[in-house]
Amino acid sequence: MSYPTDLKYTREHEWVRANGASGVVGITDHAQKELGDIVYVDLPKVGAKVEKGKTMGSVESVKAVSDVYAPVSGEVTEVNDALANAPEKLNQDPHGGGWLVKIALSAPDELSDLLSAEDYQKYTGEE
């Protein structure tokens, strides 16, 4: 899969699609492949404050639990409730329908710390 160039990526395998002062957050295709079949998603509630680099939730595959770190700081404004009953969307469409939360960015400058699609792809060693 190619990584969309309008997303910014973390080394912990999350992504952000920023639009002004708001950003949609998810986990990358590389992450979903490594995890395998995702069966459970634990997300923060609307209104929760998240801090860049801190745990904001978790995703569980059949085999294991993995923390999801907030790629940016801010307040959660929307949660992808569809994942509760269809966590497999994370495997099927990680950069689209499998998004996790929307965040009102409290420090949009943080985006400049994140990786471009090209750099992330190099980082994961995928062609």
Partner: protein, 345 residues
Amino acid sequence: MVDFGGWDMPVQYSGIIEEHNAVRRAVGLFDVSHMGEIEVRGPEALAAVNYVSTNAADRLTTGQAQYSGLLYDHGGFVDDILVHKVADDHYFICVNASNQEKDYDHIRAMNRWDADVQFASDRYAQLAVQGPKALATLQKLTAVDLAGIRYYHFTDGEVAGTAARIARTGYTGEDGFEIYIAPGEAPRIWGELLEAGREFGIRPCGLGARNTLRLEAKMALYGHEIDATITPLEADLSWIVKFDKGDFAGRDALLAQKQKGVTRRLAGFEMTGRGIARDGYEVWVDGAPAGWVTSGGPSPTLGKNIGLCYLPVDRAQPGLAIQIIIRNQPVEAVTVPTPFYKRSK
């Protein structure tokens, strides 16, 4: 690939759920060559095997296999094992990979007889063909009448032209076979089995599916349900303990425990609240810590989140509300009858 006791093993090939379902509905192929083998030979082989193991090895007929326990004198598990009677003077024991050296030392230390105990893991690779189409798959590669091998029996024959011990055993809760072959032949036989099973939709299966399948069937995994601190009576494995066969390692300790009464027992549960129980999570009853999860995860067959845990014996019967502590939050669960899954015959 994960490092598993020095073996590079895949957790999954195409995906745990797909592999799991292939075994339940058709057929799956596992490379379980990491499993250890110990052979006990000589006129006193039976005396030695019967003493070190909890089940009645003396009741095995030639060509029969038996699930059994290898115990310390204090009653805890050294390992759980499969004993195969090859001949009156030859027993073949399949043991867990990570325990094999310990098992070998243990059996040798307990060998007060003149039995010849051999560490044989280097001589065998093991492939498991499991699922309702396992017989049809394997039958294409052998002249042995597989339907004639009863469950927990085995025969020595050939598979794809190479000598094989073919046992109707498994760790999935499905019908199937475990074959023991020379390690050099394993890659070729693996390929031939995949080809033979292609019409049934065979899938190569990794450690992940092996774990979900055995959990649904409530088969113990060493280091989880059983270890040196757990006895068979606690692990709901009284059926592999035959007190009436005479003396065996751990017998006195188990008898004492039986007379005093077991205080904790393995129980199955289903999550009723949202969350997945994992190994090591704490279990609460009536607002206080009461036990721990030994294995837990989603059950692909049932579509529920299930698990096994130790509970005080008066709380280990089905139908009781318990809480699993998941990331510091109590989540509701209920004890249920086990096994979670039983195949229809």
